[in-house]
């Protein structure tokens, strides 16, 4: 190959390199740009409707009077109940798989594969399960508790996986030290391993609960109604949640409801982003201590 041809090829390769670098960069910019547009457009549409009135009134047929009080309380009920059911169960399952049964058997292998498969099941299928089992078969009806049970099943795979990761990250020396001092296995887990894994587990809990807060489809199947003019009073109350309220307003033709939907989205996103920020902070603190 003559030196001329080599030089030419070298330039061509350099140009390709430059082009590709910029292509990757532009693709990333597009991603960020989309996020900004999304947030901006929602903020622009919903800003005027945000007020104490909006947070503190019930839905209405008149867009300018409609508010999200029942949806806010409904979401709070569902998320708190979901957490109360799913968090202990998820952590216990992770403890079983990572601490009590460290040797892999066919049973733990089956459970593990099953959990990763469950994580990929569409949320609406959990809705079908909840509808058939909780609403019909156990006749819990279209109530807060049916919704919370369904949501708990939905977030469990994620919770278990994250808690397992957190437990795995605790060094074995902690366990060995504790066992060598004569602690029983549960004492070791409860007093040494769990406290060390807590930041990781908490991060997972926050992220899974924020997933539960944003989910809509399963609750529509459970039959959370959209026009609720009261706050849930007990586990058997019918209810609505914020995403369903937003969904309903978005599918109305009037312009006023679009603004209400946007304002509802702002409220939802503010809550979710604060939860995410809390999770990031926790993770950061944990990594500093480690």
């Amino acid at each position: 190959m003559s030196i001329e041809r080599y030089r030419k090829r070298l330039t061509a390769r350099g140009v390709k390199d430059l082009l590709f670098t910029n292509l990757c960069f532009v693709a990333t910019l597009v991603g960020i740009f989309l996020l900004v547009v999304l947030l901006y457009s929602v903020f622009r549409d919903g800003r005027q409707r945000l007020s104490w009135e909006f947070l503190n009134s019930f839905p209405s047929r008149f867009p300018e009077k409609a508010g999200i009080k029942s949806a806010l309380f409904g979401s709070l009920w569902v998320v708190v109940l979901t957490g109360a059911i799913a968090v202990p169960t998820g952590i216990a399952a992770a403890i079983y798989l990572e601490e009590f049964q460290r040797r892999r058997t066919w049973l733990t292998e089956l459970i593990q594969v099953n959990i990763s498969n469950l994580a990929g099941v569409p949320s609406i299928v959990y809705g079908l399960l909840g509808l058939a089992v909780f609403v019909r078969w156990m006749s819990l009806d279209r109530s807060v508790i049916s919704g919370a049970l369904t949501m708990a099943l939905l977030i469990l795979p994620m919770l278990i996986t994250v808690s397992q990761e957190a437990l795995k990250a605790v060094p074995d020396s902690y366990r060995e030290g504790s066992l060598a001092l004569g602690a029983t296995q549960w004492q070791t887990i409860y007093r040494q391993v769990l406290p060390a894994a807590l930041p990781g587990i908490l991060t997972g809990v926050i992220l899974s609960l924020s997933r539960a807060l944003g989910e809509t489809a399963p609750l529509i199947l459970i039959g959370a109604v959209s026009f609720v003019r009261f706050v849930p009073e007990n586990l058997g109350s019918s209810f609505t949640v914020l995403p369903i309220q937003i969904f309903n307003w978005t599918s109305q033709p009037q312009k006023g409801f679009q603004e209400a939907a946007a304002a509802g989205i702002i409220v939802l996103l503010v809550v979710l982003l604060s939860l995410n920020a809390a999770a990031i902070y926790l993770r950061h603190r944990a990594s500093r201590h480690a």
């Binding site: 390769r13 990757c24 498969n117 278990i160 924020s210 978005t250």
Partner: protein
């Protein structure tokens, strides 16, 4: 004398070990109870799967006693609510696949490039901005993407293509594409970062440019992990519900035109659930028949993805 003593000592040791191993009393019972409780929690996940399969199969079985599976899987007209009734699921499947393919066309190239950028090019400072931004994008609820589709994407499409309908497959596909973009990019990035440094260094030592290193060495090395990310993202797109229900519409017609309104499997389930459909009716059973079809689609894709990830792990660990 000596053997007797030894056996005495042995007995004592054994008794000591036994006592240590199994301390009698409430402490031991608590320990066992907790162990079983934890086992119960882990086994509950199996129960969930069994529950899902049982519920879907049972209701779908009742449905297929009234409607022949041949009609269901080959019929091209979906009209379970109007007379004359017709239960051909093909339009719903085509609608779902249109959204999935469209979303894939957006998210796969874009997400791969973002993943490559993050793993091969980005400085620490850029990553500190881009990663949280993508995480936020991934954390936005799907109903918000629905709003985005209806009020931002569709009006924009109609500026350029006036023939686009108010609800249309294109806008659904676009918002789902944006939604799964962070999933593709972060999984791709993970796969790419898992490629050992030595491969990159080898390529550089042979005089390759950065593009050649990333595209011809690192990318092929991470390919099965990257493919797994595509499959997972597409499976997410198939199961996506709220965004497509809002943006793509509720008209189950068999069309390949993205400008028209369609209906996906998930959107149909939502449509029926919003009304008050009594249990036992054919309408009620249709959502389970459609649900089991959806479940089968995503299940196959998930198993494929898990296989791909396993293969990838075998290569680099």
């Amino acid at each position: 004398m000596i053997p007797a003593r030894a056996s005495e000592a042995e007995r004592m040791v054994r008794r000591g070990v036994d006592r240590f191993r199994r301390p009698p009393g409430p402490g031991w019972m608590l320990e066992t109870a907790i162990r079983w409780l934890c086992f119960g929690a882990a086994a509950a996940s199996i129960l969930t799967t069994v529950g899902i399969v049982f519920v879907l199969v049972k209701e779908a079985f009742l449905f297929f006693r009234q409607v022949s599976p041949v009609e269901f899987f080959t019929g091209t007209r979906w009209a379970p609510l109007f007379q004359p009734r017709s239960f051909g699921v093909i339009p719903l499947i085509v609608g779902t696949l249109m959204i999935t393919v469209g979303a894939g066309l957006i998210a796969i190239p874009l997400g791969t490039l973002v993943g490559l950028y993050l793993s091969e090019y980005a400085s620490l400072r850029v990553r500190a901005v881009v990663k949280p931004a993508l995480e936020i994008l991934a954390g936005i609820p799907t109903v918000v993407y629905g709003y985005f589709g209806v009020f931002i994407v569709t009006p924009l499409l109609r500026v350029f293509f006036p023939q686009v309908e108010v609800f249309n497959a294109a806008s659904g596909a676009i918002v789902v594409g944006i939604m799964i973009l962070p999933l593709v990019s972060s999984l791709c990035e993970d796969a790419l970062t898992a490629v050992p440094r030595s491969l990159r260094e080898g390529a550089y030592a042979l005089g390759a440019t950065k593009f050649e290193v990333s595209w011809r060495t690192v990318f092929p090395a991470a390919l099965s992990g990257i493919m797994a990310s595509f499959v997972l993202a597409l499976s997410r797109a198939i199961g996506e519900t709220m965004a497509v229900t809002l943006a793509a519409g509720m008209s189950p017609k068999l069309t390949f035109n993205p400008a028209e309104s369609i209906q996906t499997m998930t959107a149909y389930i939502v449509q029926i659930s919003r009304g008050d459909t009594p249990a036992g009716t054919v309408e009620y059973q249709t959502i389970f028949a459609v649900g089991i079809t959806l479940f089968a689609f995503t299940m196959v894709m998930n198993i494929l993805a898990i296989r791909l990830v396993k293969r990838f792990r075998q290569v680099y660990s």
